[in-house]
Symmetry: C2
Subunit: 208 residues, 2 copies
C-alpha cells in the first residue's frame, strides 16, 4: 500500500497529505484562537491534524513549543514587511502610512495569530516569553524610528513622546481581533487606511 511513498519528510505531496509539522501548526493555530491555549488539549490538536501524540512529540518538544513556533512565524513575517516598507525611498508620511495600514491588513488577514498573540502570550514559559518580547521590541523600535524621524524634521508634533504614540497605535492594532468581523461592511484595507489616517492626523503639529 502507501501510494505516495517516495517523498521527502518535510514536503507536501497533496491536499491532506501536507507535511505533518505544518498540519499541526495550522490546526493548533485555529484551536488556540478559538478556545485558548490552556483549554486546547494536545489530544484535540493531534486529532484535528489527523495524527497522534507520538507524531507531535516527535516534531515538537512540548505544547509550549507549538505556541512559540506560531508566534515566531508571525513576528518574522511582520518584521520583514515593516522593514521593506520603512526603508523605501518614499516620503516619510507615506512610509508611515503604508506601514500602519499594512500591519492592520496583515493582522486582519491573520486574525487567528493575532488573537493568540493577545491572549496566550503570558502562558509561554518565561524564557520563550522573553524571546518573543525581544523580537516584538525590535519591531516597535523600528516603527518608533519613523515617528521620531518626522518629529526631527518638524512634520510631526513633538509634544507627545514617540513611544507613547507607538503603544497607543499598537494597542488598537492588537485589539482588532476582538471586534473585527469579516462579515462587517469594511474591508481590511479600508480599516487599515482609516487607522493610518487617524495616526497620521493625530501626529499633525497642534494649532496648525
Amino acid at each position: 500500500m502507501t501510494r505516495a511513498s517516495t517523498r521527502k519528510p518535510g514536503e507536501a505531496t497533496g491536499d491532506d497529505q501536507a507535511a505533518v509539522p505544518r498540519r499541526l501548526l495550522e490546526h493548533a493555530t485555529k484551536l488556540f484562537a478559538k478556545k485558548g491555549f490552556d483549554r486546547t488539549s494536545v489530544q484535540e490538536i493531534v486529532e484535528a491534524a489527523g495524527v497522534t501524540k507520538g507524531a507531535m512529540y516527535h516534531y515538537f518538544g512540548s505544547k509550549d513549543d507549538l505556541l512559540y513556533e506560531i508566534y515566531a512565524r508571525v513576528l518574522r513575517e511582520q518584521t520583514r514587511q515593516l522593514e521593506s516598507v520603512a526603508s523605501s525611498d518614499a516620503p516619510l508620511r507615506e512610509r508611515l502610512a503604508a506601514a500602519a495600514s499594512d500591519v492592520v491588513v496583515s493582522s486582519i488577514d491573520n486574525l487567528d495569530d493575532n488573537t493568540i498573540f493577545l491572549q496566550s502570550m503570558h502562558q509561554l514559559s518565561p524564557d520563550k516569553q522573553k524571546a518573543v518580547r525581544a523580537e516584538r521590541r525590535k519591531y516597535h523600535e523600528r516603527f518608533r524610528g519613523l515617528i521620531e524621524e518626522g518629529q526631527r524634521s518638524g512634520e510631526f508634533r513633538t509634544d507627545k513622546p514617540a513611544d507613547v504614540v507607538v503603544d497607543f497605535f499598537f494597542g488598537s492594532v492588537h485589539h482588532l481581533g476582538s471586534w473585527y468581523r469579516r462579515s462587517g461592511s469594511l474591508t481590511a484595507r479600508q480599516i487599515g487606511d482609516h487607522y493610518a489616517d487617524l495616526l497620521l492626523d493625530a501626529l499633525r503639529p497642534p494649532v496648525a
Copy 2:
C-alpha cells in the same frame, strides 16, 4: 472567647478580618492577573485568601462566578464614571477629553482588572460572556454618542465612522496593561491626557 462576636456576616471588623467574599475576590483578581484564569487553581485562591474551598463554594457557585463578579464590578464602576462625565454641561470637546482621560486613569489604577478583562474574557461560560459583552456594548455606545454629537455639530471630522474611532481608541486603552509600568516616568494622568489629546486631534476635521 471569640471577642469580635457581634458582627453582621458581610462586614469587615478589622484588617485580616475583612469579609470573606471580598478577600476571595481580591486575591483572585491578583492571581488571575498574574497567572491567568486557567492556570490559577481554586486551591491557590483560597490559600491566598486564608480560607478553604468550602468557604469559596459557599459564596460563589463556581470558579467562573468569581471571574464574572470581578468583571461586573469593573464594568459598573466605569459605566457610572462615564455617565457622570458625559452628561455634564461642559463643552463637548471637554467632556470627551475628560471621558477619555478618565478611562485611561481608571484602567491604570486597576491594571489587574484590566489585564484579566483582556486575557480571560473568552474563558467565561457563554451566557456570562454574553452578559459582559452587552454591558460593554452599552459603554461603547455611550462613548460613541459623544463622537457622533461632535460630528453632527461639525466639530469633528465626518470621514471616519464613529464606531471605528471608538474601537481604535479602546484598543489602546485595553492594551495599557501590557506595557504600562508604575515604575515608568509618566503618571497615569499624564498618559490619560496624552491619549485624550491624540484622540481629540485625530478627530479634527482634515486639511484644517
